[in-house]
């Protein structure tokens, strides 16, 4: 990853990276851009994490202790926006950049200059987003769903937030177009679609979801902008608009978005588990079809986020059953992961631990999702901490655990150095124990009726909140260990072999560790 390592024996006469800072600014190399995305994502993970620490500090005890309610709302809103658009999505795009060309035997991404642009928009978008904290009226505080009419009360930050969201959208749409063009046009001879590694498959589907729904979000926030400044009445009841319509448009984007945040994670886990079970993935084609079905179903379930807006019974039944249907392809996936491990010669290196943690804990999140899908009981759970517990199980122990597993799994390939296995295991166990202390009690809080997005709570919720906050601080601190492991692996460590893991399969393991700056200039033959 550093210049020294990429210069190692492998660039004979072909030119390596340019020197200095401009290498990173002007780079069109998929590995450089992948690195930029991943490091950016790590930085955003800590900024968003710091906001989570403020939230948990305020909720440590009942009553107002640390921040004022308005600032608390700014923290919940920005924590979510940064974690979703700044940490998880760029991490997946970074992994796609690094891995897709190496997995399909391509020399680079199909559109390298656009690739550079789609990354370099992000730092500007997030600088703009974060700068709103210092503006008159504070940062956006209406929740990440930015529902009108509340969000229209945002101060000077409002247009900055809208344009930041536009820029994030443009960035991910460009990234998605690049991924599709690369996968469809740049596969090595013999790499048919049904031979592609599952990470590539899930990313192809994710990319289609991105180009289908990011523009819808862009439209929705543009309507908010014109409602506030140009006298339109899309969502203003006074002019004949309807705020509930915003929720429909937002969640038409929002539900596919949650699969954008998890499908690449499914792909990662489907790469890691066969390696450490030393068996090929069970049910490859059913995995592909399950991913595609999940993507298709994601377009017809959006209103389960808004069961309480006053839908007719027929609507509630439709969205309830459609939502529950998603459990079928997801169940197929969990079944296949478990079957892959069945009678395998398993070993438990850190990537495998994270993948196993993913399977168990993501499934818990899936089950609480099923509970929320039941329309009549959702009226009780809606907007409580039960929802918070649910989506943190699928996003933290789902998406983020998969990303961390991916980092441990491919870091030796990327850097040419082995990470410290003992520290990696420490990181896994600390994370897994603390994340459960953090989020598991929130299920009980939610079932007992504690509302989300409120800085204060009734004293009956005090004990579980304190436990949750302690878990939160410990989980936050544990992630410093992750940053330390990643940085020290980049800087040095035991030399990694080309194959790194003895059960690893796939083209990326045929390259040296670290791979040459330009790999597969001549396409490999895939049998």
């Amino acid at each position: 990853m550093s210049e020294a390592t990429t210069h190692d024996a492998h660039d004979h006469h072909d030119h390596g990276p340019a020197k200095g800072l401009m290498r990173w600014v002007t780079t069109t190399n998929h590995k450089d851009i992948g690195t930029l995305y991943l490091l950016f994502s790590l930085l955003m993970f800590f900024i968003g994490g710091a906001m989570a620490m403020v939230i948990r500090a305020e909720l440590f005890e009942p009553g107002m202790q640390v921040v004022n309610p308005h600032f608390f709302n700014q923290m919940t809103t920005n924590h979510a926006l940064i974690m979703i658009f700044g940490a998880v999505m760029p991490a997946f795009v970074g992994l796609a950049n690094w891995l897709i060309p190496m997995m399909i035997g391509a020399p680079d991404m199909a559109l390298p200059r656009m690739n550079n642009w789609s990354f370099w928009i992000l730092p500007f978008a997030f600088t703009m987003m974060l700068s709103t904290i210092f503006m008159d009226g504070g940062a956006p505080a209406a929740g990440w769903t930015i529902y009108p009419p509340l969000v229209l009360q945002t101060g000077d930050a409002f247009p900055f937030m809208i344009f930041a969201i536009h820029m994030m959208g443009i960035s991910s749409v460009m990234g998605a177009i690049n991924v599709i063009a690369t996968i469809l046009n740049m596969r090595a001879p013999g790499m048919t679609l049904m031979k592609m590694p599952l990470f590539v498959w899930t990313w192809l589907i994710t990319a289609y979801l991105l180009i289908a729904v990011m523009p819808v979000l862009a439209g929705a926030v543009t309507m908010l902008l014109t409602d506030k400044y140009f006298g339109t009445s899309f969502f203003t009841a006074a002019g004949g608009g309807d705020p509930v319509m915003y929720q429909h448009i937002f969640w038409f984007f929002g539900h596919p978005e949650v699969y954008i945040l998890i499908l690449p994670a499914f792909g990662i886990v489907s790469q890691i588990i066969p390696t450490f079970a030393r068996k090929p993935l069970f049910g490859y084609s059913s995995m592909v079809y399950a991913s595609a079905s999940i993507a298709f179903l994601s377009f017809i379930v959006w209103a389960h986020h808004m069961f309480t807006v006053g839908m007719p019974v027929a609507g509630e039944l439709f969205f309830m059953y459609a939502t529950m249907l998603i459990a079928v392809p997801t169940g197929v996936k969990v079944f296949n992961w478990v079957s892959t491990m069945w009678k395998g010669s398993m070993t438990f290196e850190t990537p495998m631990l994270f993948a196993l943690g993913f399977v168990v804990l993501f499934t818990i999140g899936g089950f609480s999702g099923l509970m929320l899908a039941i329309a009549p009981s959702d009226f009780q759970y809606h907007d409580t901490y039960f929802v918070v517990a649910h989506f943190h199980y699928v996003l933290v122990t789902g998406a983020i655990f998969a990303i961390m597993g991916a980092a441990y799994y491919w870091l030796p390939k990327w850097t040419g150095h082995m990470y410290n296995e003992t520290l990696g295991k420490w990181h896994f166990w600390l994370s897994t124990i603390t994340v459960n202390i953090l989020f598991f009690p929130q299920h009980f809080l939610g079932l007992a009726g504690m509302p989300r997005r409120i800085p204060d709570y009734s004293v009956q919720f005090a004990e579980f909140n304190m436990i949750s906050s302690i878990g939160g601080f410990a989980f936050g601190l544990s992630q410093l260990l992750f940053a330390y492991i990643v940085i020290s692996t980049i800087r040095g460590g035991a030399k990694a072999t080309d194959k790194v893991w003895d059960g690893a399969e796939g083209l990326e393991w045929t390259l040296s560790s670290p791979p040459p700056y330009h790999s597969f200039s001549e396409a490999p033959e895939v049998k």
């Binding site: 199909a110 559109l111 749409v173 998605a176 177009i177 599709i180 063009a181 469809l184 046009n185 740049m186 180009i211 289908a212 729904v213 990011m214 523009p215 819808v216 979000l217 862009a218 439209g219 929705a220 309507m223 006298g231 899309f234 203003t236 009841a237 006074a238 002019g239 004949g240 309807d242 509930v244 319509m245 429909h248 448009i249 038409f252 006053g310 839908m311 007719p312 609507g315």
Partner: protein, 183 residues
Amino acid sequence: MASNSDAKLSTARLVTRLGLVVVAMFGFGYLMVPIYDVFCDITGLNGKTSNEVAVAPVIVDTSRTVTVEFDSTLNEAMQWDFQPDVRKLSVHPGEVKTVTYRVRNRMAQAVDGQAIPSVAPGGAAEYLKKTECFCFTQQTLNAGEEKLMPVTFFVDPELPADIRYLTLSYTFFDVTKVASNTH
């Protein structure tokens, strides 16, 4: 290198197509607005009542009685008093009734208001019809002015038998700024 330039061509075509999908989906976001309105118009799902003047029916269904409740709300910055004269009324479907709301502007300047009606349960919205209503137009009240605002309505005899209670709710919005903005 022939195959290479072929691949480049098809990449350009692919990217153009994907770009078109992006543009189309941006348009689709906006298309959802009329789709939503038409859908709600047909089904009456969002409780929006039609702002069209209805013609009173000839038949009155005296076999049943429906209770209509009246509700009034002010949007955030609205400094008005706004109360219906009666809280509820029993009517036969088809029977035409008039109810007045008492409205007073507490502000020291003239304010343009727009009342937005809503009916609960949502499924009953299309059956509550108005022949005359202060919500059909914007209402301007001078500083301290008080007005009685009538609404004349009837419940359509087609109303499903299981609905016996209706709530007609009005929210007054301050549209002074909007009105001056559009000039």
